[in-house]
């Protein structure tokens, strides 16, 4: 598919040139540059009006503007830009056939941004404000503005994140970007915030929020904070993802958009397979009928596993935002809503290695130990419909310039309906398995936050936040059936039905005091504060397995699913206690209390120092419904950490900084990691470990940055992290094969370091934005090694292996080419993402980790304004139809009997390939 590239580029060039209108000559020309009066940086997108001519333009990305074909005469020039004082009454006299240059500097209307922006940013959502935050914020932070996200082809926050420097994404089974990998550290090492506040996650396992739940259009900006401060929660190592929702603008705003599109994967030969969404019971038979109820096959209706084909399902999205301020600008209200209904697919090939490595005898004598041998070839077609609704509302009231309060409400909901059709051919065998699976995933989050800011005197201030959130996740009636055959005669196999749900609630309060005295002629800011959070989690899971009814003494022949009949293994096997997943049914709590002291002062006018320490106390407890005889059926774990941190920012010039940062942070184990739960895994079941220690880390950053103005920037930095007691899965033996578990364990000290560079610059209407991150991480964990022992024969031994941490790609890069023509209201963007190889699944066996092959993703998007308030936009994702491959770093075991498909490497065995194909989306936006 690589050769498709040049053609696509040609096409794009064609589109680009056809959009650029050619200009004609005129009598007079007026041009100039609009800049910030204080910093001198160029202001892009400022409105320049020539009164008396009814002409108006927006400035280019480098701040320049141009009026051609102006009649000679006297005019008044007006320049306005959000967040700046208007410049008016600028008299202009234009002479015939002359060019006049008039530059204008605007005065800022805003006060300095605080370190962590929880409150309203005066200039919201623009690229320029994003750069300002990056420049002025105390911690090292990367910001993606609403403006940038609007043009990107990404519909969810998860997908937008991959555009940020040092960030790649971890995808869900159905290919949605769900979690962030920041600086090579996967989701366990990062935290996720909404408006700077932690909210509950509906994920059944992780505390990190599933980021495909959030439509990116409800955001004002997306921040990734990469260094810690005493005043912010210290539970991240890679970074902290903060989704800042839109807030009330100064002027009345109304925006609406609607779009439609489709994935090119679907056709009449590869239709989307849909099942009835209403057929799934929300509750398991045991929940509906009581725990002593003996379920029978009739309690498992077949509707969930009946499918209808859609040849080319259309995606729809719609968004709506309204906001403004009244009562002398004291009351601000904003409501934003978003709806998405997306049909996606994945044609997946999976060469499944046998669960356990093998010893291969070589034809010339000798043998190879610990070899992955492919046992099955799975061809899986996924059809996934994802419906998202997000509503966000913010009300703020400014009593006076000393007191304000703000209330946020957010509700996000996602329903994912996934059909998986599997054709499994067993190698060296004429046997095939045919499996159909329906999986419904429902996730929602509600968050309500009330915040107040109070300036008590010239030197005293305080702010407080109270927040409640509830997140629910459910997989009602996960259903799969199977039939197996050879020689075109098929036998019915087991049917599995699973119900899982979890509920998470957070209640938290934050209080911060600020004291800003003047000491020795310079301002010093002390802050002292604390927070307390109470988190609860409930989990429930029940797995029913039904077998086909045997007729007389013979297995049931297969004709079709609706004719198949099922039963339980034995007479009373349908009751709750014979099916419930005991240890995965639990309640747990986490109470975190924290306090900090922080000081900020400036030395020698150029060196800003922020430092202090934070103490966090954690108490986690859990209770499972395992019987009283079970070891660790309930438990409590608590610990306290002292987290010092310091940031030094040395301003070389007004637009250049050198930053140094040190912070100590912790990672608390997820509940599923400490609760002795048992979960069905691919090779081994996974069981929680209540003896797990929490992870501690020392993080150092050094960075140089320059912000020449507008959205231009260049920065280069290095980071180093030492991670103590990192948590990874290792094998423990607790019995027979069925009692060998993969369990989270602490493994010594891991290291993660690298460099990060960001560049963006505009040349008139053209812009380039690029970032590159090189990361190296190292961890040593125990693995199993299958070998031929002289005495014991073929057996395992436990060995150590050093490898990169899961998720670390040595190279991650982004390159975007932009064309923005404010005169005709056209934006074009070509965005390219590169993610180097990384471990996607850590194998319990030596050297048999699954790696994701390097990935390149090219997308194109445009937006064209028409009728002043409308614009037409389009997004094309994955222009080159890039498949995603996974491999094991072992030479493919080819033999005469078996030809493994899709082997493109000599020293790696390709075990998986996902084909998503290109998807297109086009729509209309209205902006008042």
């Amino acid at each position: 598919m690589r050769h498709a590239y040049p053609n696509t580029l040609k096409l794009l060039t064609l589109i680009l040139t056809s959009f650029i209108a050619s200009a004609t000559f005129s009598q007079a020309v007026l041009k100039g540059k609009i800049t910030d009066a204080k910093t001198g940086e160029a202001l892009a997108g400022a409105t320049v009006q020539l009164d008396g001519s009814h002409m108006s333009v927006l400035t280019n990305l480098d701040g320049t503007y141009l009026f051609k074909q102006v009649k000679p005469g006297n005019y008044e020039l007006k320049v306005s830009y959000e967040g700046y004082k208007k410049a008016e009454d600028i008299n202009i006299v234009l002479q015939p056939i002359a060019t006049l240059v008039r530059n204008v500097a605007l005065e800022q209307n805003i006060t300095e941004l605080s370190e962590v922006n929880i409150t309203t940013a005066a200039v919201s959502g623009s690229d320029r404000s994003a750069r300002q935050i990056e420049k002025n914020a105390a911690p090292i932070v990367s910001v993606l503005s609403a403006q940038t996200m609007q043009l990107l082809p990404d519909l969810t926050v998860g997908n937008s994140l991959q555009r940020i420097s040092g960030v790649s994404v971890q995808r869900s089974g159905s290919g949605e970007a769900r979690h962030a990998i920041i600086r090579g550290m996967d989701q366990r090492y990062n935290n996720t915030l909404v408006n700077g506040v932690k909210v509950s996650s509906p994920d059944p396992r992780y505390r990190s929020l599933p980021l495909d739940l959030f439509p990116s259009e409800i955001l004002e900006r997306l921040e990734v904070v990469k260094s810690g401060l005493p005043s912010i929660e210290g539970d991240f190592v890679g970074g902290s993802v903060n989704m800042v929702m839109k807030s009330a603008p100064e002027k009345f705003m109304l925006q609406a958009n609607a779009s439609t599109g489709f994935s090119t994967l679907f056709s009449s030969s590869r239709p989307f397979q849909a099942y009835s969404h209403s057929a799934a019971n929300a509750q398991s038979p045991a929940e509906r009928m009581g725990s002593s109820y003996n379920a029978t096959a009739s309690d498992f209706p077949k509707g969930t596993l009946n499918y209808t084909n859609k040849n080319l399902p259309f995606n729809t999205t719609a968004g709506f935002t309204i906001g403004g301020r009244t009562h002398d600008n004291k009351l601000g209200v904003l409501t934003s809503a978003s709806y998405q209904n997306i049909y996606r697919g994945d044609n997946n090939t999976f060469l499944m290695p046998n669960a356990q490595p093998q010893i291969l005898n070589l034809s010339g004598g000798g043998h190879l130990d610990n070899q992955a041998v492919i046992s099955d070839l799975y061809l899986r077609n996924y059809s996934t419909q994802t419906a998202r609704i997000a509503v966000h509302n913010k009300i703020d009231y400014v009593f006076n310039n000393r007191n304000s309060i703000a209330l946020y409400n957010m509700y996000v909901h996602m329903n994912e309906f996934e059909t998986r059709n599997t054709y499994d051919s067993v190698y060296l065998n004429k046997l095939t398995d045919n499996l159909m699976r329906s999986r419904t995933l429902k996730q929602s989050i509600y968050n309500g936050t009330l915040r107040g800011d109070h300036t008590l005197s010239d030197v005293f201030g305080l702010n407080w936040t109270g927040t409640y959130s509830i997140a629910k996740g459910a997989q009602p009636d996960w259903a799969e059936y199977d039939y197996q055959g050879a020689n075109n005669s098929y036998i019915a196999q087991n049917m599995t039905r699973i119900w899982q749900h979890n509920k998470n609630q957070d209640l938290a309060g934050y209080l911060n005091f600020l004291y800003r005295p003047e000491i020795a002629g310079s301002k010093v800011e002390f802050s002292l504060g604390g927070m307390y959070r109470h988190r609860t989690r409930d989990n429930y899971q029940i797995d029913y397995k039904l077998t086909p009814v045997t007729v007389g003494g013979v297995p049931q022949s297969w004709t079709d699913f609706n004719s198949a009949t099922y039963q339980f293994k034995s007479a009373d096997a349908g009751i709750e206690s014979k099916n419930i997943n005991t240890s995965n049914t639990y309640t747990s709590h986490e109470n975190v209390g924290a306090g900090y002291l922080q000081a900020k002062f400036t030395l020698l006018q150029k060196l800003e120092v922020i430092g202090g320490a934070r103490a966090e106390h954690t108490l986690q407890n859990y209770a499972t419904i395992a019987p009283a005889t079970s070891v660790n059926r309930s438990g409590t774990v608590s610990y306290t950490d002292l987290l010092p941190s310091a940031i030094l920012r040395y301003a070389l010039t007004s637009d250049q900084n050198i930053r140094f940062s040190y912070f100590r942070s912790i990672i608390r184990p997820d509940f599923y990691q400490i609760v002795p739960t048992e979960d069905i895994g691919e090779e081994f079941n996974i069981k929680g470990n209540p003896y797990l220690k929490h992870t501690k880390a020392d993080n150092i950053d050094l960075k140089y940055e320059i912000f020449p103005g507008g959205s231009a920037q260049f920065s280069v930095g290095a980071f180093y992290k030492a991670i103590y007691d990192p948590i990874e899965l290792g094998i423990t033996r607790d019995g027979g094969p069925s009692a060998q578990y993969l369990t989270p364990l602490n493994f010594g000290t891991a290291r993660d370091y690298g460099i990060e560079a960001v560049f963006s610059k505009y040349f008139g209407m053209f812009g380039v934005s690029a970032n590159y991150t090189y990361t190296k991480s190292k961890i040593t964990t125990t693995k199993q090694y299958y070998y031929k022992d002289d005495v014991k024969g073929a057996t395992f031994k436990t060995v150590n292996q050093t490898r990169p941490m899961q998720g670390t790609s040595p190279s991650i890069g982004n390159l975007s080419l932009l064309y923005k023509n404010p005169h005709i209201g056209l934006d074009l963007q070509l965005a390219f993402v590169y993610v180097g190889e990384r471990i996607s699944i850590v194998s319990p066996y030596y050297n048999l980790d699954y790696w994701q092959a390097p990935q390149e993703l090219l997308s194109f998007s445009f937006e064209k304004r028409f009728c002043k308030k409308f614009s037409l936009y389009g997004k094309v994702n994955n222009l080159t139809n890039q498949p995603v491959r996974r491999y094991i770093k072992q030479s493919p075991q080819q033999s005469a009997a078996v030809t493994l498909p899709d082997q493109i490497y000599s020293n790696k065995t390709v075990v998986g390939k996902d084909i998503y194909n290109m998807d297109l989306q086009t729509g209309v936006r209205y902006k008042f």
Partner: protein
């Protein structure tokens, strides 16, 4: 009575009689302390909860709730004890269980109410047969169980799926439905001269251990699947002189799957076993019908008699058995129908992954029905082998009458699988190999007798040795 002493004296007498040169041997009559009398277990009230001690000869016990033998404790069962299990209870062994029945007074672990419904006539509908009903959970040994010794003991109607609570006692998930589980690579599991009747999934799952299965009878094992003696990674020992009738899948299976680090490779020697009408209730395709060697397992299979089973001996190729270290031959196959003889050497097309190599010592000679140019795994026309080489059992109709389908034979009933005097299976066995003898020889704490390879094919030797279960 001191059994050790009696054996010693009998052996001595024999020596004396056979060899005059042994006259000079010393005689010894040394004091042996009386066996420790472990506190008797009372039969006055139904049992549940923790137990330890001895179940006394001739007494009838009722278990009405889950019973646990805690680590370090041992329960002895004396000959003739009858244990009736109610309420789908289970026996969970974290210590040791030693059940010592005798030929005249076997021990019973059964469900009385189901025993009354037992029906072993051919053509029983498995969906209505109490054998597959799972009347109780069975005997589940934890990883700490050091000894499970069953001699002259009947185990019946077990295999009810575990509840979550029961599973948590022995590291198993809810829904697991074995009749017996053993899972200690250093532990000893001996089953001699015993009977196992019925079951739901694998009747006996050996996750790992040192084992010895001698002279047992297995009937109606597994409802819709399950291998009767299913040995996983880290199991070492012998399986000989066992009779299997109507297993859902295999009678004996060896695999090295899931071997714990540091345990020994699964190595099982299987000789002189008889398999009759096995493999027909398994719902999965190509899964075997008598003996399977799978993933990384090694061992031996000689002198086995395979009658009307769904597949012949299966050496699995992917994931591969340790084919370089498996020896087999002198195995005797008989098939009533073309479907049976066409799988004496399991074919690829059947989904069984044929790797089994025909051996020159096989009976019937493969040259009689395999085409020239045959390659293992190929489909072939076995017509010449149909109903050839009738092994001539004392009482079992071969060919089976037309009104009984292959899956219709599930139990021993009144049949007698000893060999008639003119049986072609007599004298065809191979005896130049030895047992692994992975367990101690001991009347209580080990195997009483590991019967050496026999001259006659199958479990019943014409000279009366081998399996002792016959009319």
């Amino acid at each position: 009575m001191n059994l050790k002493f009696s054996i010693f004296s009998v052996a001595l007498t024999l020596l004396v009689l056979t060899s005059c040169s042994k006259w000079s041997d010393e005689k010894r009559d040394l004091y042996q302390p009386p066996a420790v009398v472990v506190s008797p277990i009372s039969d006055a009230a139904p049992l549940h909860g923790g137990i330890t001690g001895t179940m006394l000869a001739g007494k009838t016990y009722t278990i009405d709730g889950d019973v646990t033998i805690k680590a370090g404790d041992t329960v002895f069962v004396q000959p003739g004890a009858h244990i009736n299990i109610k309420n789908q209870a289970g026996l969970f062994v974290k210590g040791s269980l030693i059940s010592l029945g005798s030929k005249d007074a076997p021990v019973w672990f059964t469900v009385d109410s189901l025993q009354k419904l037992k029906n072993d006539r051919p053509n029983q509908d498995p969906t209505k047969d109490p054998a597959f009903a799972g009347g109780w959970v069975g005997i589940y040994c934890d990883t700490s169980c050091y000894q499970l010794i069953l001699k002259w003991t009947h185990i019946e109607f077990a295999g009810n799926p575990l509840t979550a609570d029961q599973g948590s006692l022995v590291h198993q998930k809810s829904g697991t439905a074995f009749s017996i589980l053993f899972q200690n690579p250093n532990g000893i599991f001996v089953m001699e001269d015993s009977w196992l009747y019925g079951g739901v999934d694998d009747p006996i799952r050996i996750s790992n251990g040192r084992i010895c299965f001698m002279r047992n009878t297995f009937e109606k094992g597994g409802a819709h699947g399950g291998d009767c003696l299913n040995a996983k990674g880290g199991t070492v020992g012998d399986m000989a002189y066992n009779l299997f009738v109507g297993m859902a899948t295999n009678g004996q299976k060896a695999s090295n799957k899931g071997i714990p680090a540091g345990a020994s490779q699964t190595n099982i020697r299987m000789w002189n076993n008889t398999f009759v009408h096995c493999g027909y209730r398994q719902i999965q395709i190509g899964r075997g019908g008598d003996i399977d060697f799978e993933e990384g397992a090694k061992g031996i299979a000689y002198n086995n008699l395979i009658v009307n089973c769904k597949f012949g001996i299966r050496i699995v190729s992917n994931p591969a058995a340790d084919t370089a270290n498996i020896s087999y031959g002198y195995n005797y196959s008989y098939g009533d129908s073309l479907a049976v003889v066409n799988q004496i050497y399991p074919t690829n097309a059947s989904g069984s992954g044929g790797w089994t190599r025909p051996q020159s010592t096989d009976i019937p000679a493969y040259t009689a029905f395999l085409p020239a140019g045959y390659k293992y795994g190929d489909s072939y026309d076995g017509t010449p082998a149909i109903q050839k080489n009738n092994p001539l059992f004392v009482n079992f109709p071969l060919p089976v009458p037309n009104n009984i389908p292959l899956y219709g034979i599930q139990a021993v009933a009144n049949y007698d699988f000893r060999l008639q005097v003119n049986s072609p299976a007599i004298g065809k066995g191979y005896i130049n190999f030895s047992p692994l003898a992975a367990v101690p020889i001991d009347p209580k704490y080990g195997a009483t007798e590991i019967t050496l390879p026999g001259r006659d094919i199958g479990a019943f030797q014409f000279n009366g040795t081998g399996n002792q279960h016959h009319p």
